[in-house]
Amino acid sequence: MTATAKLDGRTKLLTCVFLTLFMFSFHYYWQYLVIIMLFAILLLVGFNAQERGQLFRHWKLITFLPAINLFANLFFVNGRVIWSWGWLHLTNLDLQIFIRIALLLMFALALTIKTTPQELALSVGKIFNSLSFRRYHGAGVPLVIIIMVAFIDEFQATFVTVKQAYRLRASTAVEVKGWQRILDYAFLLQPIILISMKKADQVADALTAKGYHHNSSLFDYQSIKYHWLDWLVYSALVALVVVNVLLVRIF
């Protein structure tokens, strides 16, 4: 088992959120450089080759979204102008926003690669539990997330089969013209939602029969303990903040 697998889901989620928020306090490019270095080290240590491949397979998304944003920002002057050409102004802030969004996407992707939806669901429940000073014991929130993930898969499968079944039943050899086709597809939405609702009803039956309406111990929040690695990560994050503040003061 690798070190990252031992980490608690909460730690991963919070680290991701923290790093993203942390970036918004940056003023200098070297700060981004440090973050990028740290992330690169993390990728080298905590990720295996396959997972890295998974991350970089999305390079289009990672570059495309910030690029669109950058392009739009060229029309506005916000902050110190580095370069300008007619209407277009490239400012310091534009570049920083570009870097931020790209990094943000990378962090989120890394998070999704490293956690299963179940783990994420549970960690959201745990965070709720901690935030409410252990007064929230419910299984509701994590259960909704788990069921949602199950239904997302289910829904996509249903969408495919219903579309197929529709083609099978509705097919008349005559070609349907563009607008009519779109309309047909729109009407398809209703049976799909209907079937999903029916399925949800059946799931509810099945889960009742399995005793899921038993609330208290679906997730045993008391027994959830941090591993020492988790503390290490948290202290690393705190150290990062402290060092950052110190360095900014000095320069």
Binding site: A108, M148, A150, A204, T208
Partner: protein, 182 residues
């Protein structure tokens, strides 16, 4: 937790899934200055789930569906804004839906609900735009103007919500809701 609650949780999960898919499958990106406006059906289903499930479960579905989408698709930094937006939308929908005392067949009352939802969505979108701009470091006056420029997408979304919600709700009512008691 009893059976009814479990059923509500499961339907909240279903609604969250539909919201999630409503955003990620049927999405048209629009370039804009701040944030990430795109045309999608997430809000439409969010409003419907509040109408079906009531505020508590409907809002959870909306928050989880919209929020998780943001977290998993690289908008983690602004997810909290989305969450607040969703809660406001759910609250307004729930209050208006309660207030009109809807009974089956009264289409105009449903349109009142969807009108309220659409309007509040435009307002919150604009506010969210302002906050996001300020977050990335723009001065407030500029942010206010910037946010206006990214409103068209929100307006289209709100219009879609306004038009579609009553129709889908009535369709559901005719078919599923009369068999499944929530």
């Amino acid at each position: 937790m009893n059976k009814i609650k479990l059923r509500k949780i499961i339907f909240a999960g279903l609604c969250a899934a539909i919201i999630f898919i409503g955003i990620s499958l049927f999405r048209i990106n629009l370039p804009a200055i701040v944030g990430r406006p795109f045309i999608h059906f997430g809000n439409t289903f969010a409003v419907i789930s509040v109408m079906i499930l009531g505020f508590k479960y409907g809002a959870s579905a909306a928050v989880i569906g919209l929020g998780l989408f943001d977290v998993l698709n690289g908008y983690a930094a602004t997810a909290w804004i989305t969450v607040i937006e969703a809660v406001i939308l759910a609250a307004v929908t729930a209050v208006v839906f309660q207030a009109v005392h809807y009974q089956s067949g009264q289409l105009y009352k449903l349109y009142l609900v969807s009108l309220a939802a659409g309007l509040i969505k435009i307002i919150t979108s604009w506010l969210a735009g302002v906050i996001e701009s300020v977050m990335v470091g723009v001065q407030l006056p500029v942010a206010v103007v910037n946010a206006f420029l990214s409103l068209p997408a929100a307006a289209i979304n709100s219009l879609a919500t306004f038009l579609v919600v009553p129709l889908i709700y009535i369709a559901l009512q005719k078919t599923v809701l009369k068999r499944i008691r929530l």
